[in-house]
């Protein structure tokens, strides 16, 4: 993993909401095959950072450049989210955002939308392309469900799934878009230790099998320290530290950010 190719380069990213600077001059680089954690206290601007990168928000300033493997790099500031997804960056959401009245399988099939081309006319006349793509979509989605262990509830409505399963379904849906970057926004939030351990394994397995780079936001320090290659720490919109898990653990600024400023007693 030394000299690995850069996949995502964020530099000087700033995001203002009115007078509030939610993200201030943040930079981040992600290389192939890395798991990079973004941590920080609540309200530090982590999710805003993700939203800027995935195109949900258009950042006020800064550069976000994607380097798709085997293609020219492209600057994606203010690009529409669906275009960014098509370029190869997928994400999950902090507060689960599934399609509740659709089945588990259909949820994953939506992820294939940007990789298929069936038009309205194709769909109506049931052209050969439509049939082939439909079959591929179903098969591929089903295989993804098997990988995250949800194959036996494929025909269930996604709203009926337990919480942990919904989180895994979100990951499967994101993987269906064939990403090379997978952004996970607090994947372990609300999970019990057992589920967190399974998630931990799942993330590492996905990285190994698909050779993905995975930036993630997480509060569960055990998970973060376990699986991350590098960690960025944010506080009040600013980046205050970065490094390996060991370095971060010993960084006095990080400890201060998490435990509050030392008041000398």
């Amino acid at each position: 993993m030394t000299a690995a190719a850069k996949l995502l380069e964020v530099s000087g990213l700033t995001m203002d909401f009115g007078g509030l600077r939610a993200v201030d001059d943040a930079s981040l680089t992600i290389c192939a095959g890395e798991i990079v954690a973004l941590i920080g206290p609540n309200g530090a601007g982590k999710t805003t950072f993700f939203n800027c990168v995935t195109g949900i928000y258009a950042p006020t300033a800064g550069d976000i450049v994607m380097h798709p493997p085997g293609a020219a790099p492209s600057r994606i500031n203010g690009m529409k989210p669906n275009r960014i997804t098509a370029l190869g960056m997928a994400r999950t959401f902090q507060n689960i955002r599934l399609f509740p009245a659709m089945t588990v399988l259909e949820n994953v099939m939506i992820g294939r939308h940007c990789r298929t081309r069936t038009s309205i006319v194709d769909a109506i006349v049931s052209s050969r392309r439509a049939l082939r793509e439909e079959r591929e979509t179903v098969d591929k989605s089903y295989r993804l469900l098997q990988r995250v262990g949800l194959a036996d509830v494929a025909d269930e409505f996604s709203r009926n799934l337990p919480y942990g399963a919904q989180r895994r379904l979100e990951i499967a849906r994101a993987l269906a878009t064939d990403p090379f970057l997978l952004l996970l926004d607090e994947p372990a939030a609300g999970m019990n230790p057992q589920e967190t351990r399974e998630l931990d394994e799942l993330i590492v397995r996905i990285r190994a099998e698909d050779r993905l780079a995975i930036p993630l936001i997480e509060h569960d320090m055990k998970l973060v320290m376990n699986i991350s290659d590098r960690i960025y720490v944010m506080e009040y919109g600013k980046e205050i530290a970065q490094g390996t898990p060991r370095e971060i653990k010993e960084n006095p600024r990080v400890i201060e950010a998490y435990l509050g400023e030392e008041t000398h007693a």
Binding site: N82, M102, I110, H113, T118, Y142, Q146, A151, A154, A174
Partner: protein, 410 residues
């Protein structure tokens, strides 16, 4: 005892509510007010009886042990029908045969009233199915849908009057022009959601009607356009009954076409994108669904059917004026979609037929029509907010071999 008390309160409450409607009657001839107190007693007794029965039924239901089946696994009638392919195919054939024989069975040489009623009901079935794409599948509330219907109707009326174009040329043109209007309306409201969307579409519906009413030189104003030619059939001369039957078959074919196209789309990449957009806009965009394109296609397709069937409407009636395109009609079509069950094709068809045919055959109760309609809506929303038919989940065939091979995995 408490049940008795509750029922009594309900009875009294209904007596109070019904007071202006059932008891007081103003006789404008003699300048008198009649007080029909006996009616009030009847209202009280009936309300009491119904309330008592309901309480009784509720008590019985709570006394019964809860069913052992997990509600998530309970399958609705429609779900079972959908899973049983041969049965549903046979049912479909039976319904089509019935629909084809229908006009001959119910009409005689001079009396083809039932056929005409059915034509207008089927027109609303197509409208319901069209709006079902926009509202039911894509979740874009549209309170001015009837405007597209008007566009189609006036397209045919004007083209046939001024350019002598025939019905069959105008039919696709009406659809296409309706679709253009759908796109034109769709662009400015791409970013709107919920209440705002409702208000803009409501405004669009009103504007259309006002323009039609006031632009006398082009649209004939409030008097409308008369003498619109009926659909032609290879130059054959048809009598009244045959004309009605011909119109019937044209609309029936349109219904079949709409059902076919909608169900194909619903189960395709496009339909899934519509549904995803309905469920969660941000998530679907983040999953790579092009919001603008998907929303516009939903609007355009919904408007297309309205325009198409508008042409048939104009041809069937020989005459159109703006009064056929009021907000009430938009609301009626929306009610069909909601009552039938958002996104459900069968549900919308049943609801559309019910809402159009019942008032027609219950002319005796014409005075109470809106009252019954309103009550039905309220009851429906309380007891079955998901519509007549819902909870359908589509099952996909995923390679059986894989499924069998990995059966023991979990």
């Amino acid at each position: 005892m408490i049940r008795l008390k509750r029922s009594l309160t309900i009875g009294l409450w209904f007596m109070f509510l019904a007071l202006p409607l059932m008891v007081v009657r103003v006789n404008t001839l003699n300048h008198e007010i009649e007080w029909r107190w006996s009616n009030m007693i009847w209202v009280g007794v009936c309300a009491f009886a119904v309330a008592w029965m309901r309480q009784f039924a509720l008590a019985r239901r709570s006394a019964r042990p809860a069913p052992a089946v997990n509600p998530a696994q309970r399958r609705s009638l429609m779900q079972r029908l959908a899973d049983d392919a041969p049965l549903s195919r046979r049912l479909l054939i039976a319904i089509s045969v019935l629909a084809i024989v229908f006009p001959w069975a119910v009409s005689t040489g001079q009396n083809f009233y039932h056929v005409n009623v059915m034509v207008s009901a089927l027109i609303f079935v197509v409208l319901g199915l069209g709006l079902n794409i926009t509202v039911g599948l894509a979740g874009l509330l549209d309170l001015g849908y009837i405007a597209f219907f008007a566009v189609g109707a006036y397209t045919y009326a004007l083209l046939s009057k001024n350019f002598d174009l025939g019905f069959w040329t105008c039919l696709p043109l009406g659809g296409v022009i309706g679709m253009l209007f759908g796109v034109v309306l769709g662009f400015p409201i791409l970013r709107l959601r919920g209440d705002y969307l409702a208000i803009v579409t409501l405004g669009f519906g009103s504007i259309t009607k006002i323009v039609l009413e006031n632009w006398d030189t082009l649209f004939g104003g409030a008097a409308g356009i008369a003498g619109i030619p009926r659909p032609e059939l290879f130059g054959l001369v048809l009598d009244g009954r045959e004309k009605a039957v011909y119109s019937y078959y044209i609309v029936l074919a349109l219904v079949a076409l709409t059902v076919f196209v909608t169900s194909r789309l619903k189960n395709s990449r496009i339909g899934r994108a519509w549904m995803a957009l309905r469920e969660d806009e941000i998530a679907s965009v983040a999953m790579g669904v092009d919001m603008a394109r998907t929303k516009l296609s939903a609007y355009a397709l919904g408007a297309f059917w309205a325009g198409l069937v508008g042409v048939v409407f104009a041809a069937h009636n020989n005459f159109i004026n703006p009064d056929s395109f009021t907000f009430m009609d938009s609301a009626m079509i929306l009610a069909m979609v909601v009552l039938g069950g958002m996104g459900s094709i069968v549900g919308v068809i049943i609801a559309a037929l019910t809402l159009k045919l019942l008032p027609e055959y219950l002319r005796a109760f014409a005075d109470y029509r809106m009252l019954i309609f309103g009550a039905l809506m309220v009851l429906m929303m309380i007891f079955r907010p998901q519509g007549l038919i819902s909870d359908m989940r589509r099952k996909y065939e995923y390679g059986r071999r894989r499924r069998d091979g990995d059966g023991e995995e979990r």
